[in-house]
Point group: C2
Chain length 111, copies 2
DNA sequence: CTTCAGGTACGACTTGAATCGTACCTGAAG
DNA sequence: CTTCAGGTACGATTCAAGTCGTACCTGAAG
């Protein structure tokens, strides 16, 4: 039942350019904002974000977030979990998550 | 001698998505990092950044930064000045500039 | 076993963004 | 006036990124 943790960059290897590019997309920013809103940083199902895009595209976005080092992905085979890497982000880019949390939730105007 | 101040968005109208997209580019991030490093926020010539790109492309990047609300552009006709909108940025996105200032200056690896 | 929902792989399409070439404008200095 | 450097306008090119269609895999539930 323990899923495999898909690999991402180390905490120190987080790159500001990569992170900004990851957060430039409205859908990815929405996911990260929702994750940041949960102060418990509990694992969350990847299908629980009801993004208005296809499954394949969602897979793509989650991969980008993971490769940017912003989230961990846990693979259970036929489903997947995601978890915010709050500590690593806060250590490398203090205050970044606060910017996201301060955003109005359902802001669909950003594009 | 007083140049015309080219228009950008109001302080409250700054959009996080637009800002992240603007800062996703290495050259624009370099410009903003250099501006943020000067605590006096003095006006600076647009040609003082020696970016490794053509004049036309620089014009493009400065426009993106202005339209994102990150800088003011002052048009003198045959030359141009640029100034960081530190107060507006800090008010709308507190801590954002600190993230840029914390970056290693000559980091050309981000792309 | 079969079915089914969640997810991935691969490829194709489309749009946006970065870049530059050519031509032109602007103000200052000869 | 002419020259010249800094900057813009417009168009073309190139490349990255977001998107989806088709096909396939995986584990859980009948």
């Amino acid at each position: 039942m323990t899923g495999k943790n898909l690999v991402g960059p180390e905490a120190d290897a987080l790159d500001l350019g990569v992170v900004f590019r990851a957060l430039a997309d409205e859908h990815r920013r929405s996911v990260l904002t929702q994750l940041a809103a949960d102060r418990n940083d509990s694992e969350r199902g990847c299908n629980s974000f009801d993004l208005p895009i296809s499954k394949q595209t969602q897979t793509h976005h989650f991969r980008v977030l993971r490769e940017a080092g912003l989230v961990d992905e846990i693979d259970y085979g036929n489903r997947k979990g995601i978890r915010l890497r709050r500590a690593d982000i806060e250590k490398r880019f203090p205050g970044l998550l606060a910017l996201l949390e301060a955003e109005p939730p359902g802001d669909t105007a950003s594009r």
